[in-house]
């Protein structure tokens, strides 16, 4: 991955230390994909074996009437002879494994909307039991990516068969005024009388879309549309022309569509801009990414692309992360009509940048690589663990940097389509967790709190639809929505999963996450989660502190970055080497020791200074959380019992935790600080 090359080029820029740093600058070993207990589950459309860890299947709702085609989808001929027999029976045998596929999800006001290549279904999920179907809408055209805002439902349509009137007939002609590819808007204020009120045509259809609120005007909603297909003919839609930007500056390639929706008159929704988010910031060149290196080959010959597959916005940070074909990008969306690229990354292991998910703090992004488009078996034991995987990237100073790959750590068969797909954040305070769909690889929860060491902590998996034959099926989207994981199974309907405690996740952490609710959830429009002061939240942080191995305090022989990251050891450096920790170059030698950089310090790091630092480091107090945590646990237990807050103890704990936090680094420091703040508020 690019971690290696970035570090190496940094060292080259420094012009020093090349030999020393090359040995240090190894990317973390990629996760190995091996066969495990879920690799060879028995198959079946309705009776495949299931396996779960850290979660349990609570409800499984089969496709509703009208959304399952027993004659077509799962009984296609399996040989040419059978196919010929079928063709002889029917003039035009019509079956397509994706025609009734479930796709993306959105939740509003207790209603879960499940997109489908043939329309969408609405379920009532307020009653605690299995989701109850409220109504269905049939409007073919795929993929049926859905979003909801108030009384409006938005839906992506990309296929050639899409029609303005939600029908399929009357498709004559290469240019067809009735064809629809773009974003539909439905009025769902009355679920007994849904109505299409607008249909915004776009040049490349709509593969996915993302709702973007206006920063100040509550009456305006934007939709970022990502079209990935071929460009329509101008005769069908006059704003559309094809070709490389050097030859055709108006080309519909190399942009996204920004649709403006006046919420008091949504029928007037229209494209308001098609920003050139791939343009070079200095030259304005439309194909700014991929200049093709030194020789500029790409810019001369690029014919198709660029586009985004999916964009996730985080309006509170004015940021959007775009998964855009050959790159991951970061956009400033302060002006939603003119998003401006602020960072972009590339990685040779990423085949196709597919989707992006921020962590809650907004300093990490999980990009997925949908290698093979989701219809192929790409989690086989022979497939590299860095392909078709997640890439964990960090954001520092609005700059993306790839840190590690994470792939479903279970080999899947050739009969299971599998690759990284849609997911969102599970709001456990103190950790970065993401639940995610992997098609027939199942549903998996990844902990990426440490962006260099992502880890699976829970999963649910089924066997293939049919052993030995690849049918397109599995989880399209798996999202945490108000306390449960909802998974849209392409072929089998809707699954509801509940997290259960295991060694990686405690009951309090789950309870703290389950307590977070929102009225409206569109996973590609992220909002900042905050947690109430509750015993569950406190215990979640406490459980994390108890679970984490107590890291040895950085010593004189530790990497410099560890010495800088720890508040107490950093203070020692500042005392003896004033200004060093503020030096921007420090990050570039962070993996080295003080002794190693001393010869190159121009005399700044003397043997005497090293000895003084070593002595001060040895004199620092140790990590005494072992003594502190039981006392915190007792205070939380007392809180749970509902007794009056012991203000004196709360204040004492706040002080002790604050002190302890200064002696540790990273997530543990943040957890201690959060707990200290909570007890401070308890103390009044």
């Amino acid at each position: 991955m690019n971690v290696r090359s970035t570090l190496l080029s940094t060292v080259a820029v420094l012009g020093v230390l090349t030999a020393a740093a090359t040995a240090q600058a190894q990317a973390p070993a990629a996760q190995v994909i091996t066969a495990d207990e879920r690799t060879a589950l028995s198959g079946g459309l309705n009776d495949a074996a299931q396996l779960a860890s850290g979660m349990t299947l609570e409800h499984s709702v089969p496709p509703p009437p009208g959304f399952f085609d027993p004659d077509a989808i799962f009984a296609p001929p399996t040989s040419q002879a059978e196919g010929q027999a079928l063709a002889a029976r029917a003039a035009s045998p019509s079956f397509s494994a994706l025609g009734l596929a479930n796709s993306d999800l959105a939740l509003s006001n207790g209603r879960l909307f499940v997109g489908n290549f043939n329309g969408f279904n609405a379920y009532d999920v307020t009653r605690g039991g299995a989701p109850e179907l409220v109504m269905s809408v049939v409007c073919p055209g795929g993929q049926g990516d859905v979003s909801v805002r108030g009384d409006l439902l938005f839906m992506s349509v990309e296929e050639n068969r899409g029609r303005l009137d939600c029908g399929t007939a009357g498709a004559a002609g290469a240019v067809n005024a009735e064809r629809f590819r773009g974003v539909r808007i439905f009025d769902i204020s009355d679920l007994n009388a849904p109505r299409q009120i607008a249909a915004v045509q776009t040049c490349r259809g709509s593969h996915t879309h993302t709702l973007v609120p206006h920063p100040t005007d509550a009456n305006v909603l934007y939709v970022y549309n990502s079209g990935t297909a071929d460009v329509r003919q101008a005769a069908e839609l006059d704003i559309c022309t094809d070709g490389a930007p050097d030859q055709n500056p108006e080309t519909a390639l190399f942009s996204i569509d920004v649709i403006k929706v006046p919420l008091d008159a949504p029928q007037n929704a229209a494209i308001v801009s098609r920003p050139r988010i791939f343009a070079d910031s200095e030259t304005g060149r439309v194909a700014g990414l991929w200049r093709g290196g030194r020789a500029g080959v790409a810019s001369q010959t690029t014919a198709q692309t660029n586009h985004c597959h999916d964009i996730t916005v985080y309006p509170e940070l004015n940021l959007a992360a775009g998964a855009c074909s050959g790159n991951g990008i970061l956009l400033d969306i302060s002006n939603p009509e003119q998003p401006a690229r602020v960072s972009d990354i590339f990685d040779p292991d990423m085949a196709y940048w597919h989707s992006a998910t921020f962590n809650n703090a907004g300093d990490k992004v999980v990009f997925t690589d949908e290698w093979g488009g989701g219809i192929a078996a790409r989690c086989q034991i022979t497939d590299p663990a860095t392909w078709g995987a997640n890439m964990i990237a960090t954001i520092q100073n609005r700059t993306l940097r790839g840190r590690a790959f994470h792939k479903l750590p279970s080999a899947q068969g050739a009969d299971q389509n599998c690759v990284a797909h849609n997911g969102n954040i599970i709001p456990v305070p103190g950790r970065d967790l993401m639940v995610q769909a992997w098609y027939q690889g199942g549903v998996s929860v990844m902990d990426f709190t440490d962006p260099t060491k992502p880890l699976e902590i829970a999963y649910f998996d089924r066997g293939p639809v049919e052993e030995g034959k690849l049918f397109v099926a599995g989880s399209w989207s798996a999202y945490w929505l108000n306390g449960r994981i909802y998974s849209s199974e392409i072929a089998r309907g809707l699954d509801v999963l509940r997290l259960v405690p295991n060694e990686h996740l405690s009951a309090a952490e789950i309870a703290a996450a389950e307590a977070v609710t929102a009225r409206e959830i569109n996973p590609q429009t992220q909002t900042r989660i905050s947690w109430a002061d509750t015993p569950d939240v406190a215990e979640a942080w406490l459980d994390q502190l108890a679970r984490a191995p107590v890291a040895a305090r950085p010593a004189i022989g530790s990497p410099i970055r560890d010495l800088v990251a720890n508040a107490q050891t950093r203070a020692v450096l500042d005392k003896h080497l004033p200004g060093m920790t503020q030096n921007p170059a420090i990050a570039q030698v962070g993996q080295m020791t003080l002794a190693a950089i001393a010869p190159m310090s121009g005399g700044a790091i003397t043997p005497a200074a090293l000895a003084a630092i070593e002595a001060d480091l040895a004199a620092l107090p140790g990590d005494d959380r072992a003594a502190l945590l039981p006392r915190v646990r007792a205070a939380i237990a007392q809180w749970r019992r509902g007794g009056r807050a012991d203000r004196r103890e709360a204040a004492a704990l706040a002080g002790l935790l604050t002190t302890a936090a200064s002696g540790v680094t990273g997530p543990d420091a943040a957890r201690m600080q959060a707990l200290a703040g909570l007890f401070q508020r308890r103390a009044g």
């Binding site: 299947l57 089969p62 040419q80 049939v138 296929e159 068969r161 593969h207 093979g372």
Partner: protein, 232 residues
């Protein structure tokens, strides 16, 4: 499987041989299924059978030809990567080529499945070189017969180009490979473009999804190859 048993004992994993929840019987009265009208028009209520019918998609002779053509086209990419195994120099080129070969081979399987399920022949009538795409025998034999400049079909490398590729090694091979594969991938994208302008074509959902994936994946790969080419 002791590992599994251990996990079971630890209560971390639940195994279910059969689904815990049987498919629900159809409710007495299902909620309505609406088919909306054009923007502004009211929806109508339709039956489940009508809904299923709307989800069905048909295909045309152009779709079938597209799939048959693309199988031949993809086979050439696999053949090019086979040449690379003993000839290429750059590890970056090898990495990309390995991915291309895996992808194109899997897509060939998908296309064969699509055709077989519809009772269609895997090869286009009159095209008998399907398994041997564009590499004429002179290239294998390695002697004098001049190879043709005419590719088997548009978007593919000509026999002469394949012969030149087979004769190259090291950085020279890398360059010819990348240039050839870019040309080859563009051919696939052009095939999709041509299909999409054909009246009534690409109505089939799987085919439509596949065609979109071809455009997306191969255009990303073209850019990657252009970048590699400029770094050679």
């Amino acid at each position: 499987m002791p590992g599994l048993a251990g996990l079971l004992l630890a209560g971390l994993i639940t195994v279910q041989a059969a689904p815990p929840i049987a498919p629900r019987p159809a409710p007495q009265s299902s909620p309505p299924i609406f088919q909306p009208g054009a923007p502004g028009a009211p929806a109508r209520v339709i039956s489940p059978a009508e809904a299923v019918e709307l989800g069905r998609s048909s295909y045309t002779a152009a779709d079938v030809a597209f799939m048959q053509h693309m199988i031949v086209h993809h086979a050439q990419a696999v053949e090019m990567v086979d040449l690379l195994e003993t000839r290429a120099a750059s590890p970056s080129v090898r990495l990309l080529a390995r991915r291309i070969a895996l992808s194109q081979a899997a897509e060939m399987e998908l296309m064969r499945g699509w055709l077989a399920e519809r009772g269609q022949p895997l090869e286009m009538p009159g095209m008998d070189h399907a398994g041997h795409a564009g590499m004429d025998h002179s290239a294998h034999a390695g002697h004098a017969m001049p190879a043709s400049d005419t590719p088997l079909m548009a978007g593919m490398l000509s026999p002469r180009q394949m012969q030149a590729l087979a004769a190259a090694t090291g950085p020279g091979f890398d360059r010819l490979f990348l240039e050839g594969m870019i040309q080859h991938h563009r051919g696939a994208i052009d095939m999709v473009d041509a299909l999409m302008t054909d009246p009534g074509a690409a109505q089939d959902t799987l085919l439509s999804d596949f065609a979109a994936a071809v455009v997306a994946d191969q255009s990303a790969e073209i850019l990657r190859m252009q970048s590699l080419l400029s770094d050679l």
